[in-house]
């Protein structure tokens, strides 16, 4: 399980906070990715045009992406809240590993 988690999240550094990530983060992450994948596929490939430098246009691209970020981060928050409820119903404590560094909703771990 530990090995698998490291496989899923190789971006984590030794220098990061040492706590074990809680399950709902992983859960939210996977679902978030699925959602994003769907949206990314729908959106199609970006035009490979190196001449049109992104920073020439400050507005529309940055505005449009926000709806997507809001949606995906919202899904992650909802899944996490849901998972916490399920856990508390099952009487699982959230003592070990929870809390540290992941104190914000939408935390993708």
């Amino acid at each position: 399980m530990v090995g698998r988690e490291q496989h899923v999240r190789p971006g984590r550094r030794a220098s990061c906070s040492g706590s074990d990530p809680v399950a709902p983060e992983r859960f939210g992450w996977v679902f978030g990715c699925l959602g994003l994948l769907a949206v990314a596929v729908l959106a199609g490939p970006a035009p490979a045009d190196p001449v049109r430098l992104a920073y020439l246009d400050p507005g529309s691209g940055s505005f449009l992406i926000q709806a997507l970020v809001a949606l995906v981060a919202g899904i992650a928050v909802a899944l996490r809240t849901y998972w916490e409820k399920v856990k508390s119903l099952l009487g699982l404590s959230r003592g070990a590993g929870g809390g540290s560094g992941g104190d914000t909703p939408g935390d993708d771990g």
């Binding site: 999240r9 400050p58 529309s60 691209g61 505005f63 992406i65 809001a70 919202g74 935390d107």
Partner: protein
């Protein structure tokens, strides 16, 4: 009207100027409703109480106020204006988190940040504080965060590059004054960065969206984001920022000033002499050049000075900043500066960001265990070093580390000795051109000497 400050011309809501040495902010008519909303909503009081926004008071309009003048504000003075390219990783990260916290509180009170510019954050009494009182606008339901792009460019992209690639990339902010272009960051970050959802969305997909929609206006229906959605975006950005870290390892000078450089009692004597001289001079403002993690800067703080502690090593500055935060120190600002290439005047017409020398104003400079790095590692003639230090400050406490000292021998080990002037007499001769040597003290157990100098009147 007095001297309008260089970087203050982009926002039509108002501008900043200096009059008789005091900084004022004018609110124009067009910016007045948003300013009033900030004050009436309770957001101003809340943010000032939380030390997230600079305190100000409204003062009478100047006699020569322009017709569109609405209000004149006198903000609390910030001791030293620093720039993101002079901050260590932890300072940029704390500034990012402060910006997100301000936006979260603003939304809760029906306002929103209209810019998320890192230059609007300054370190005031040890903490990151928003200094631009006119950065707020009234929130309009359904509108995306207009400063989202700026936040990603000014904070998220450089922090991610420093975390995943190299902490020295923080200096890149000096090249890109409006933040690191997201397509550039996306190109340089490694694949594993994209395993973090928030970085993938807010940097990579964001850059892609910018490229895809460059030049075209987005239809309002496609950009609608609810207030809850904005909260989710802030949470996603915060999650991204919080996961980014920098641990200063065994970097260049981390153990530099350990006892080893001095013989028996040498370091204690050095501390005692510096403390005595600072006590006698009682400077209000001290710059500690080559401060390392700030041991001597703190001696200056104890003498009652407000201190800016400069070092070239990002790890040393990071450690120093952590000491400041952990101890809640309010009189010490650590910054990263390469004295051989200090921050230049930058931006439009060279007037948006001031050079280091333009921002100088210390009563006293400390240059301890520094001169051999400048003179030998960087081939700078002693007289040029003296000239530069005289440009910064009328008073100087400087340590001369002669040949024969283990540190200098290390520097000379791999190169021919082309420094015949680099000895005590040559040092005193070069510095006497610009300074009068008031006092000198030998340090026991080594050949090092401390000097207390006063700038010659005609060199001021």
């Amino acid at each position: 009207m007095a001297d309008v400050l260089g970087g203050s011309f982009r926002d039509p809501a108002g501008f900043v100027y200096r009059h008789a040495g005091v900084v004022y902010r004018q609110v124009n008519d067009v910016g007045s409703p948003d300013y009033q909303a900030l004050m009436d909503s309770g957001l101003y009081a809340e943010l000032v109480k939380a030390a997230l926004l600079i305190r100000h008071e409204e003062v009478p309009a100047p006699a020569d106020a322009a017709p569109d003048h609405a209000k004149t504000l006198r903000p609390e003075a910030v001791e030293f204006i620093s720039y993101p390219y002079e901050w260590c990783f932890g300072q940029l990260r704390d500034a990012a988190l402060a910006t997100l916290e301000i936006q979260r509180r603003a939304l809760a009170r029906g306002l929103s940040l209209k810019d998320a510019n890192a230059y609007n954050i300054q370190f005031h009494r040890g903490k990151p504080v928003l200094i631009d009182t006119l950065s707020f606008e009234r929130y309009r339901e359904g509108e995306p965060w207009v400063a989202y792009r700026q936040f990603c460019q000014h904070f998220l992209a450089p922090l991610a590059l420093m975390h995943y690639r190299d902490v020295r990339l923080g200096e890149w902010s000096r090249l890109h004054l409006d933040g690191i272009p997201l397509d550039l960051a996306a190109e340089l970050l490694p694949m594993r960065a994209w395993l973090r959802l928030s970085l993938w969305m807010n940097l990579k997909l964001h850059a892609r969206s910018q490229r895809r929609h460059a030049g075209g206006a987005a239809p309002a229906s496609a950009t609608r984001v609810s207030k809850t959605g904005l909260g989710n975006i802030l949470a996603s950005l915060e999650a991204g920022v919080r996961k980014l870290r920098f641990e200063p390892g065994g970097s260049e000078w981390s153990d530099y000033d350990a006892e080893g450089s001095y013989g028996d009692g040498g370091l204690e004597e050095k501390k005692a002499v510096v403390a005595r001289w600072l006590g006698e001079m009682a400077p209000h403002r001290v710059w500690d050049l080559g401060a390392n993690t700030g041991d001597f800067s703190r001696i200056a703080c104890e003498a009652g000075a407000r201190v800016v502690a400069f070092d070239v090593d990002p790890g040393a500055v990071e450690r120093n900043y952590r000491r400041v935060r952990e101890a809640g120190e309010t009189a010490l600002l650590p910054l990263r500066i390469d004295l051989c290439n200090p921050s230049p005047a930058q931006g439009f017409a060279h007037r948006e960001r001031a050079s280091l020398v333009e921002r100088a104003g210390p009563d006293c400079v400390l240059a301890l265990a520094l001169v051999h790095h400048l003179a030998i590692s960087n081939n700078l003639p002693l007289e040029r070093i003296a000239e530069f230090l005289a440009l910064l400050s009328p008073r100087l406490v400087i340590e001369f580390v002669p040949k024969g000292d283990p540190r200098v021998e290390t520097l000379l080990a791999t190169r021919p000795d082309i420094f015949p002037e680099y000895r005590r007499e040559g040092f005193e001769r070069a510095f006497s051109v610009y300074f009068e040597i008031e006092e000198a003290a030998a340090l026991p157990g080594s050949e090092r000497r401390l000097y207390r100098m006063l700038r010659r009147a005609h060199r001021a």
